[in-house]
């Protein structure tokens, strides 16, 4: 899923300065799964924003909505009725959903309520960890299904750096596994350590954002 997290409350309060009627809009898909922008989070944030702004001497009316999917125009259309009643929109969807809302309601300022951070999995209750970086040149077939692009702090492609901690965690974070240690262990368990010995040449990053904004065209579907 696409993972996002709330922006710091002071930042959210600052962005709403001067607004009287705000539409706080969530999305019931990925950001609901990662507890950042689903209905529950919309309902939680609304009173917090109201109280925070009141503390700063500002009265604000907050209207809450949660769309099925904020990244689909049909669902965004549901906001058309309320939009005339508000002077700003704060979205708790990922950056994709936010942009669709911004585009549809071009006259209203759109404030991001969350930071979109990663493509991740819910590893445990309350813990989400990155799995993919949308690199555009998937190498999972070479690494026993573990992604070194998203899960190695240095996106190394030829094995672990010298910084792997003694307990097998990553140099950069004592709570994150060194993914290369896991790749090596998985290879060993399958008796295929040799597969990792070949030098993996430099990657072609041009099919990701590095090649310019991605545009995927399928004539057969047009």
């Amino acid at each position: 899923m696409i993972v996002a997290e709330w922006k710091p409350i002071p930042e959210l309060l600052a962005s709403l300065k001067g607004h009287k009627n705000v539409l706080l809009v969530g999305c019931a898909t990925c950001v609901a799964e990662c507890a950042a922008g689903g209905e529950r989070e919309v309902l939680t944030l609304a009173p917090v924003l109201k109280m925070g702004l009141k503390d700063q001497g500002q009265e604000v009316n907050i209207i809450t909505r949660t769309l099925e999917r904020q990244c689909e125009p049909e669902f965004v259309e549901e906001l058309a009725e309320i939009a005339p009643q508000v002077d700003a929109i704060m979205s708790l969807a990922c950056g994709i959903g936010m942009q669709l809302v911004a585009e549809r309601f071009i006259d209203l300022p759109l404030y991001p309520g969350v930071n979109t951070t990663s493509l991740a999995i819910r590893e445990q209750p309350g813990l989400w960890t990155a799995r993919c970086a949308a690199c555009g040149d998937c190498m999972l077939g070479e690494t026993f299904g573990l992604c070194p692009v998203a899960r190695c702090a240095k996106s190394l492609m030829n094995g672990p750096c010298g910084g792997t901690r003694k307990d097998g965690k990553c140099e950069v974070d004592e709570n994150t596994e060194c993914i290369w240690r896991l790749i090596v262990e998985r290879a060993e368990a399958k008796g295929r350590l040799e597969d990792l010995v070949k030098v993996r040449p430099s990657k072609n990053w041009s099919n990701s954002g590095h090649g310019g904004p991605k545009r995927m065209l399928r004539e057969d579907l047009r």
Binding site: V172, L196, W205
Partner: protein, 312 residues
Amino acid sequence: MKTPVQTKLQQAIAAGRFALTLEIGPPQSPNPEPLRKKAEIIKGLADGYNVTDNQTAVVRMSSIAASKIILEMGLEPVMQMVCRDRNRIAMQSDLLGASALGLKNVLALSGDHQKASAAGKLKGHPGAKNVYDIDSIQLIATIKGLRDEAKQEGGDAIAEPAPFFIGAAWTPLGTPRNFRVLRLAKKIAAGADFIQTQAVYDVPAFAAQVAKARDMGLTDKAAILAGIIVPRSAGMLSYMDRQVPGVEVPAELIARMKQAKDAKAEGIKVTVELIQAVRAIPGVKGVHLQAIEAEELLPEIVKAAGLSPQDR
């Protein structure tokens, strides 16, 4: 095709002399004087001097500029290059520039993550965007391409080959231990000519890893220089044992440093013994010696270890 390369380090190795490299960190300053002062202390001792590339992700004078400055003083630099800050375009451009300036030894590294820059007292740049377009092994292959095929990574030609003596780092006792020799093999297959290792204190464990490398024929293809860091106290050793990845310090050694009346003198003695011990391991062709924040000790240690130029 292999483009011939001549550097003092390469010649020492080729001649079968026990090689010695030292390290010199560029200053956090635009002023070359502190660098020159450090260089003056250790000048004439070693075959090569590693010049670090924004080590621990802290901004310092560039390793190319600092390398050139010490080269002018008669020290032969080993220019370090990390993959953190530059993409393959910038790195190749800098390599051509370095070559034009007369820099011929280069050490390819992954580099410390930018988060490390804020670990100590410094603010550092933990919010920096890293690059890691290519990794250290791909960088080695890229440098080899510039040298042996006069070809850029992307395939275009360069007008003439860039003669580099290519180095790589090795953490023989790193986790996962049984991949570390294979990773060394990858670096050598990619084109590494010489290898500098993480600090060695546990000589038997190190020797066992070198023996595996030897069995794979790796020690004939590249020269391994064992890393030695002068111990200064029992506290430093036990810290390294606990905290520094890939460093193992035998308990006896920590105890010995603890009991020593004069820790400095004992540290020098230990260093000399370590150098002699790694020198006896078949396949070890030299040492990479560091005295962290105590460069002034190096002349004495080099002499005591029998590594003065006239003794090697």
